[in-house]
Symmetry: none
Subunit: 233 residues, 2 copies
DNA sequence: TGTCCAACCAATTCGAAATTGGTTTGGGAC
DNA sequence: GTCCCAAACCAATTTCGAATTGGTTGGACA
């Protein structure tokens, strides 16, 4: 082999590439030039460059993706921030569990920060659920109540997470199996439970608000599971 | 006025439009034809059609948006499920507060459900943060550790919320003001705090895990605020 | 056998053009 | 003047084709 081919052997290209990475001023996102340009800049063939890049990728120094480019650092994990991707991989029970983890803490925060106006709005929503003539109306005001509580936490990111969870709840093909009665019965469990939550928030009782929300969601969860069990018969 | 101009008065156009809506077969998303087409189809001027549309919009029958079109139904509430919309309206401090509310509960759940493999992965991430040669690498492994904990909660929706929050954290342009040292100091507060969290999870100590995570995020928060204060001088 | 080069493939991004609701302007009709 | 219409213009949004990019294949060549 000639000296030139020696210098352009794979090991040589890898070290050359490392030197380049150490010296080069990469953009903020750590993207490096396309293979076609880089191979020319380093004076090696694309084939050889790709072998070297493969080595560095195996080492975890860089990561690549078709159409995107080659980047330094480790490959970003595929995030579940996308709603539709999320909905495909979960189910109502899991969503319910997530609500049980998140919403009590939201209620706790709301107890500290809710404004009198927001508390009044909660009362209005609560009253509307009592007056609801159909389940659809009931659910509408129920959602609104829960969202008002989330708003009362006075934290935009938290409200965003709540909305994401709500959207997910709707997206999950959740067998619209609503029991027969055309309207919520007057002694529906939610009525007193909602009242307890709002009372706790009004009294600035953080632990009470969290506990009341947890208790409420537990009965909602139980109803959900019961309905599923019935549907399974 | 002639009969024709009578028929094309605003009230007449509104009824004509209602009739159209009742009869027309709209696509799934409830979008109706562009104003230019619709005015021609109904045989009225665009000016008049727009007045009628304005009336229906005021009634809440339809909603419109530039570039999108006109749709039947009520305007979708501005849900904060969209990341970019979220990022514009918040700030690092709020995101930090949201983390303080969410992540301790995630750690609590993880203490119950984490698999030995996941705990091992946490240890690996923790070790990597110690070895990190640059802040970039450190943050990479730090993020990975926190996400592994979120994965350990075994709840897809919850993991989705965590990812949303992470994305938000990156999106919020927070003045990349990283203190001078080129690499994390060996006695960086996070090291012992991370270890405490992982230990609690391994011991299935739910309260301990939540408390440790809360303590950790509090110091992160304090550092963040200090850095901002310094930058403000 | 291995390397290089060129062409091709598919995922992704980019950008110009088209679309669309909202607004302004000028010309008539009354 | 007052009102309406048509046309043009504006800005937000969507659309779609072209360009880019990592990955792959096939032929030339040594």
């Amino acid at each position: 082999m000639s000296i030139i081919s020696e210098a352009s052997s794979e090991r040589g290209t890898v070290t050359q590439l490392r030197a380049y990475l150490a010296q080069a001023q990469l953009p903020e996102d750590g993207r490096l030039p396309p293979e076609r340009d880089l191979s020319e800049a380093l004076g090696v063939s694309r084939t050889e460059l790709r072998k070297a890049l493969g080595t560095l990728e195996a080492e975890g120094q860089i990561w690549r993706h078709v159409g995107k480019g080659t980047f330094v650092g480790s490959r970003p994990i595929d995030t579940f921030a996308d709603l539709s991707a999320l909905a495909k991989r979960t189910n109502p029970a899991e969503v319910m569990r997530a609500r049980l983890i998140i919403e009590p803490e939201i209620a706790r925060a709301a107890a500290l920060t809710a404004t009198p106006m927001q508390i009044a709005e909660m009362r209005v929503c609560h009253a509307r659920t009592r007056e609801a003539a159909t389940w659809r109306q009931y659910e509408n005001w129920d959602n609104r109540l829960h969202r008002t509580i989330a708003e009362a936490a006075q934290n935009i990111p938290l409200l965003g997470l709540f909305d994401t969870l709500s959207a997910l709840r709707r997206a999950v093909t959740w067998g619209r199996l609503r029991s027969n009665p055309v309207r919520p019965s007057p002694d529906h469990h939610s009525f007193t439970e909602h009242a307890t939550i709002i009372d706790a928030i009004e009294n600035r009782d953080m632990n009470g608000a969290a506990a009341a929300m947890r208790a409420h969601l537990r009965t909602v969860e139980r109803n959900l599971l019961d309905r599923q069990a019935m549907a399974g018969e």
